[in-house]
């Protein structure tokens, strides 16, 4: 093992954390009310569930626009650029190394928060699954305006089926995502980081070229020596 010293590092900015937990809340509410509207159980009552689902869904749509704005103005989008480099090493780690207590092959750094597996997973979710949910959800919501918008050709059952399939995808992602938060150096390390912004990571791990954000003039990561 190289660099055994743990360093408390500021990984997630305030907006990033706010956005993460806001989206968590919105998606949880959408899943809970969505499955109720679909008839799986009774929780809020159908009418309220629909009203909440519509309101939260549209809220998500607007808030997501802010997120996209943030993503591109800060250059953070580069963290989502997929790569195959070390992808199999990471997969191998989660299949075997993690049980042996091996260190993570691609630890988090301020400039590279996502390992190759996360990059591909988050990109699929943020650029594909969530937009599919948002677009299908918006169309579902605007059903009565289809004729006025010249969308007569759309089929409600098709839109509903896509939205339903997407919902299962999101729920499935949520389960996997929540589980993965427990794989840090302590069970709650990742969650703590997403709340406070700070996470203890090993010192001295160099950024490899492919991980670097090609952005000029970025201040050095705020770090402080851990007392450990």
């Amino acid at each position: 093992m190289t660099g055994n010293q743990m360093v408390n590092t500021y990984l997630y900015t305030r907006y990033e954390r706010f956005w993460h937990w806001l989206q968590t809340a919105l998606i949880t509410i959408l899943l809970a009310t969505g499955f109720e509207v679909n008839g799986l159980y009774t929780l809020l009552g159908y009418k309220t569930a629909v009203a909440v689902h519509n309101f939260v869904g549209l809220t998500w749509l607007i808030a997501f626009a802010f997120f996209v704005f943030w993503l591109f103005t800060t250059g953070e989008w580069k963290q989502y650029v997929p790569t195959t480099k070390k992808m199999f090493t990471v997969i191998h780690y989660y299949m075997f190394g993690i049980f042996r207590g091996d260190p993570h092959p691609v630890p988090k750094r301020r400039e590279a928060k996502h390992n190759p597996l996360q990059r591909i997973a988050y990109l699929s979710v943020a650029a594909c699954l969530l937009p599919i949910q948002m677009v299908s959800g918006f169309l579902y919501w605007s059903y009565n305006s289809w004729a006025a918008w010249g969308l007569d050709g759309l089929s409600l059952p098709v839109v509903a089926a896509v939205h339903m399939l997407g919902a299962f995808g999101v729920l499935s992602f949520l389960i996997g995502h929540v589980y993965m938060t427990t794989t840090g150096h302590t069970l709650l390390a990742h969650i703590r980081a997403m709340i406070t912004g700070w996470e203890e990571i090993r010192e001295g791990v160099e950024l490899e070229d492919w991980e670097k954000r090609p952005r000029q003039g970025h201040p050095p990561a705020e770090t402080e020596a851990s007392s450990a």
Partner: protein, 551 residues
């Protein structure tokens, strides 16, 4: 766009604001419009009914001609016509007089007086003196009745306001000349105080229309389900518009009248082809819900406003019919004729209503009935006694017209009355029995001989009978449009938006909450449960591995 604005406003309000508080005044302005009582439909409806005091310029009790000594109805009618000389001519042209659909050639015989059939007392032909106690005329005893006789019009039954004017149930439209007991209901009918009733005349009230329309089929609440004597003096809980503790609407408030032609549906002709507000057409002949409430009656942004293009107001706002008095839901003629000790008998069941009568067979009565729902464009098609039927399955005697693709069709509530009634085994058509009459006339209610009764009934209707009959199950629908409940009692979303809900029987369209995609659900749950099992096993593996390391 309004809704988007609302979302944006609400979103900012809930503390998720990211930039600027400048939108706050706009938010407040928005919230004022969202006040429940500001629903445009309610506001419009209120405006439509305010200041509705009617005024008249004549006092009929002072008219000398109404103070003469009358001895019969036609004499009163002649007195009325001495001033209202066009009234009988107008009335003669209406369905209330002809009992034939005015929108098809009379030769087609569509109507009560023609070959139209129901599954109550089936048809008028051969049974006139009993059935025509509900005719606004005097003396329709048989097919020889003179429909051009102006004095035969009964002005009083619709216009008298004392509530004492009663036509005798088997009197061909005449009241009695001396007190007479009617064995059918054990009530004694008295001759009218002609001067009193004639001098009382005014605009028809619920009681006038209800004389016949609450008692169709021979008794209170037998036929319609949404029309019975409980609407004579209803409260708002029974009908928000007619409720005497509210607007106290009379029937003619919505069933507007021109030259004695009363607006409403007649057979295949809708009451109105387009649902327009009075703002669009303030001379619309029939007042529909939309006339006063508009097509977006709920508060802005309410999902219910998006339903009005496909779901009739009645569907949500009449959760049950027959909410005070029971209504007849089934009538099996095939059971008629059973006797006790050689004598006809009758039995009463729940609600004190007859469940068996030797003359008529078995009945089923129900209260608080949940309607059946069909696509409906306002027209109801029906077969007649001339049409060929398929007796191997229940016969729809009439049915609502409309498909989902119809722009004017909406999901609409109905009462479905189930019958079992005679049909011709050889000619394959429904049969008209002669029910009413004295012994020797072949009437079923006097002789209990179906073959004779059917032969005589069909002959009276001018139709043929092979002599071989059996009984077939039939269905008859009534649109449910009265007994509109207060909005708190409206049908909740979940009552339709679920798999086993009220609209489970309507197919051909996707409805959230009701319809599911089996394959997608299977794929979805395999994915979700697979993930759950996967992470659980992975987690267990880590826990075990860590445990070993610590050992």
């Amino acid at each position: 766009m309004k809704f988007l604005a609302k979302i944006a406003a609400g979103w900012l309000c809930t503390g998720l604001i990211m930039t600027g508080l400048v939108a706050v005044p706009a938010v407040q302005a928005q919230l004022e419009v969202l006040d429940e009582n500001q629903a445009p439909g309610r506001t419009m409806a209120r405006q439509a009914v305010k200041e509705r005091q009617v005024w008249i310029t004549a006092d009929h009790s002072r008219h000398a001609i109404l103070q003469q000594a009358f001895t019969s109805g036609p004499e009163v009618t002649k007195a009325c016509l001495s001033c209202h000389e066009l009234a009988a001519g107008q009335f003669h042209k209406t369905i209330h007089w002809t009992w034939l659909d005015p929108n098809v050639p009379p030769g087609e015989r569509i109507g009560k007086a023609g070959h139209s059939i129901n599954n109550f007392c089936i048809n008028l032909n051969g049974n006139e003196p009993r059935c025509t106690s509900c005719h606004a005329g005097y003396g329709w005893r048989d097919s020889r009745f003179n429909f051009n006789d102006e004095a035969a019009v009964d002005c009083l039954v619709c216009h008298e306001q004392t509530g004492t004017y009663k036509k005798f149930p088997t009197g061909a439209g005449f009241p009695v000349q001396e007190p007479t007991l009617f064995k059918g209901n054990h009530k004694t009918y008295n001759p009218p105080d002609w001067n009193k009733v004639a001098q009382s005349v005014g605009r028809p009230t619920r009681a006038n229309c209800g004389t016949c329309h609450f008692n169709g089929g021979g008794g209170d609440g037998v036929k319609h389900g949404d029309l019975d004597s409980s609407l004579t003096k209803p409260n708002k809980a029974l009908d928000v518009h007619m409720g005497m503790d509210g607007q106290d609407f009379d029937c003619v408030r919505c069933h507007t009248t021109t030259l004695h032609n009363i607006a409403g549906r007649t057979y295949a002709t809708p009451a109105a082809t387009h649902r327009k507000s009075l703002i669009e057409d303030d001379l619309a002949s029939k007042i529909m819900c939309e006339s006063c409430h508009s097509s977006t009656p709920h508060k802005p942004g309410a999902k219910a406003n998006d339903h009005t293009d496909k779901v009739a107001c009645q569907t949500c706002h009449i959760p049950q019919f027959a909410r005070v008095n029971p209504t007849k839901m089934a009538w099996d003629w095939s059971q008629a004729g059973r006797k006790k000790d050689g004598k006809p008998y009758a039995e009463k069941g729940p609600y004190g209503k007859p469940t068996y009568d030797t003359k008529k067979g078995t009945f089923r009565w129900e209260k608080d009935v949940q309607p059946a729902y069909f696509w409906f464009n306002g027209a109801i098609n029906a077969i007649t006694a001339r049409d060929t039927i398929d007796p191997s399955k229940p016969v729809d005697i009439n049915w609502p017209v409309g498909r989902r693709a119809d722009e004017n069709a909406r999901i609409f509530p109905f009462k479905v009355h189930e019958g079992r009634q005679p049909y011709d085994k050889i000619n394959k058509n429904l049969l008209i029995p002669k029910l009413f009459g004295k012994k020797g006339t072949g009437a079923y209610w006097a002789e209990y001989d179906w073959k004779k009764a059917l032969g005589n009934g069909m002959q009276a209707a001018g139709l043929s009978f092979s002599g071989e009959y059996d009984f077939v199950d039939t269905r008859y629908v009534f649109p449910i449009t009265h007994m509109v409940a207060p909005k708190e009692d409206a049908v909740a979303c979940i009552e339709c938006h679920r798999a086993d809900g009220r609209l489970a029987g309507l197919t051909g369209f996707y409805m959230p909450g009701r319809d599911h995609f089996k394959t997608i659900n299977i794929i979805g749950w395999v994915l979700v449960l697979g993930t759950l099992v996967g992470v659980t096993l992975h987690g267990l593996g880590r826990a075990i591995a860590r445990g070993r390391k610590e050992d």
